[in-house]
Every structure is written in C-alpha cells, then in structure tokens.
Amino acid sequence: MSIYAVNRMCHQLMHDKNWRWAMQTDPERAVSSLDLTGEERDAILSGDVGALFLMGANAFLLGYLTRFNVLGLTLPVYNERMRAVLGKPART
C-alpha cells in the first residue's frame, strides 16, 4: 500500500517542521527520499491533488499541501483541482 507513503508525506508536513521546510524549498529533492511509485511521485511534484485523492490519499491530509503552500498549491489551485474529481471513481 504505497499510498501510505503519500499520506505520511502530508502528515509530516504538519508534524515535522524540517520536512515542511524541505518540501517548501526543494520538493523534488525531498520527494526523492520517499518510497513512492513513479505515478505517485509525478502526481505529487505536479501538485495533482485530484489524482492523489483518486489513488486513495486522504483529503484531510492532502489539505496540508495547500495550508503550507507546498508545490504551488494556493487555495484556488488546490480547490479547483480537488473539486474537479468529484464523482470520479477512486481506486480501492
């Protein structure tokens, strides 16, 4: 269940200030340390929160990406991308 690593990455944005700083300043380098699939890594680095949600990531935790302004995810951008996947089938 490698989506676990996506969720944990978001979780640590809140609870590890070093990690938050790393993701805010050099996300490509930070993400390279994680155990992710290529699809997950690409979705993270492109800020594609809708795709991450459909892969099974937790919305509450994904919200930390915009709360801490990671990956260019201003609130309008995050909001639009997340609302765009409404009703689309999620992987289980």
Partner: protein
C-alpha cells in the same frame, strides 16, 4: 456518586481562535461560544469528558481505534499549529479515566487504552473557548467519526450510554459535563469543498435536520437517519455527528436546552441539562 451535570455540543474549527480574535468580542464566534461557556459555567463541572474525533494528531493509520479513552495525568496539545493557541499541558484525571475504560470494556465496548498522548485542534479549540483558564480536568474520549468504517449511530449511542453509566458509577461526589464536538455537514479539503474555500457544507439540509431532531430530543429518529452513507454524503467529517450522539447517550435523552445552527459551517452550538442533584 458522580453526577452528569449536563451536556454541551460545540464545533472545533481550527481557525476559530484567530477568526474570533479578528471578529472581536461581539462577533458571531464569540457569541455562540459565549453561550456554550455560560452553560458550562452553570453546570460547574469538576471534570469534563470530551468526546471527539482525532484528525491524525493523536493517532495515525498505523493504529487507529474506533473508540479510545485517554488515560493519563496530563496531555499536550494542540499539536497541529492552531493560530493563537500554542501547545500546552492540559490537566486530566487518570483515576477516573481508568475507571471509565474498565467500565466500557466490561460492558462490551472494545475501546483502546490510550496514554502518553497528544491531541489536536479537535480537543484544543473547544477548551480554548469554554475553559480559557484551563482549570478543569479533561478526559478525552476518542471516536472515529472520520475514517470509514465508522461506528454506527446506534453503536455510538450505546457507547455513550455505557459511558454515562460508568461516569455515574464513579464513587466520588463530583459533577461531570460531557461535551461532544464536531460538525454535522462539513467537507475538509475534499471534492465536496465549496468553490474557492478550504471547506464545504455539502448538505445544509441534513445539518438542519440533525439540529431539529436534537432540539426535540428525538435521538431514535436521528440514529435511524444517520447512516454511514448519509453522514459521508454530508462531508468527509460528517461522521462527527457521532460525537454528539455519544454525548447524548451519556447525558440521557431529552430536548436540548438550546441549540443554534451556524449554517455557514454546517455545525451547531448547544446545551443539555443533566441529572438533578
């Protein structure tokens, strides 16, 4: 023997300490929380039992309990960057918490033992407004109202009833207030957000329905209607209504003394009068 002096229902929006400060003392947030605080002060509890849903501050997926009882002398929180509320140690009541845990497990409620724990805004924010002196011991009761599968509404009510029985079986002559905290319709950072916001209220009609059923004290109908699909359609934390239902189980059935719906957030503020001494 302990007595349940009453019940309180409030939200726990993490931005409310900041928003309330921005609005000033006459703003809506301070007005609603002021009503709840007045009710709490009338109830004059020696201990507060706070039923809440943790949002990954106490637990993680690694071990996420359906129900849990916080058992310790103190606990730290909120640990999730609540503006204007730096983390602090809250006082708790370890002996009473251990008693409640024993009572719940012996009655067939499969709670997790929780100690040496931290909490987030879902416990910190209600206390910020309700007991700003942080002088009343607080025992957190954790209920998963966020991650499906959630306990059913009937199970949550029965859990609250067993919690109430365990409180009343405590040997000390103390007054206890039970607080339930959470929203009725709220989606946080998910596809049901409102345009441009970081949250949404996907089913205001459901929030109104819940409020009406609580006002009239019809918990049976509320449990019949609060199915998991219905709660989830009301937002990804729609299950937090279970915290209120468990609180009502503990306090006992009956009409709310008062209940006020804050429509823009899909949540309410309310108070119930409890046992007569």
């Amino acid at each position: 023997m302990a007595l349940i002096a009453g019940g309180i229902g409030v939200p726990h929006t993490p931005y409310f300490p900041k928003f309330a400060a921005d609005q000033g003392p006459d703003g809506e947030i301070n007005r609603y929380f002021g009503m709840a605080r007045a009710a709490l002060e009338t109830q004059a509890p020696d201990v507060i039992i706070l039923i809440d849903t943790d949002h990954f501050n106490t637990f993680y997926f690694d071990c996420f309990p359906t129900f849990g009882v916080g058992i310790d002398d103190t606990f730290l929180g909120p640990v999730d960057d609540v503006a204007l509320m730096p983390p602090r140690d809250f006082i708790s009541d370890r002996a009473l918490a251990a008693h409640l845990f024993r009572g719940l497990v012996h009655e067939g409620f499969d709670a997790a033992h929780v100690t040496h724990y931290q909490v987030g805004h879902s416990i910190g924010v209600p206390l910020y407004f309700l007991t700003p002196g942080y002088d009343v011991p607080v025992i957190p009761i954790f209920l998963n109202g966020h991650l499906p599968p959630m306990p059913s509404s009937k199970r949550s009510l029965a859990f609250g009833e067993a919690l109430g029985a365990a409180i009343r079986a405590w040997e000390q002559d103390i007054r206890v207030t039970v607080i339930g905290t959470g929203s009725f319709s709220l989606d946080v950072a998910g596809p049901l957000m409102d345009p441009g916001e970081n949250f949404g209220v996907p089913d205001l009609e459901w929030a109104k329905r819940v409020t009406a059923l609580m006002r009239s004290g019809d918990v049976g109908t509320l449990c019949d209607e609060a199915t998991e699909p219905r709660m989830l359609a009301a937002g990804n934390v729609g299950g937090e209504v279970l915290n209120w239902i468990a609180m009502l189980g503990a306090v006992g059935p009956g009409q709310a003394d008062w209940i006020e719906l804050q429509e823009i957030r899909g949540h309410a503020f309310a108070a119930w009068i409890g046992d007569q001494a």
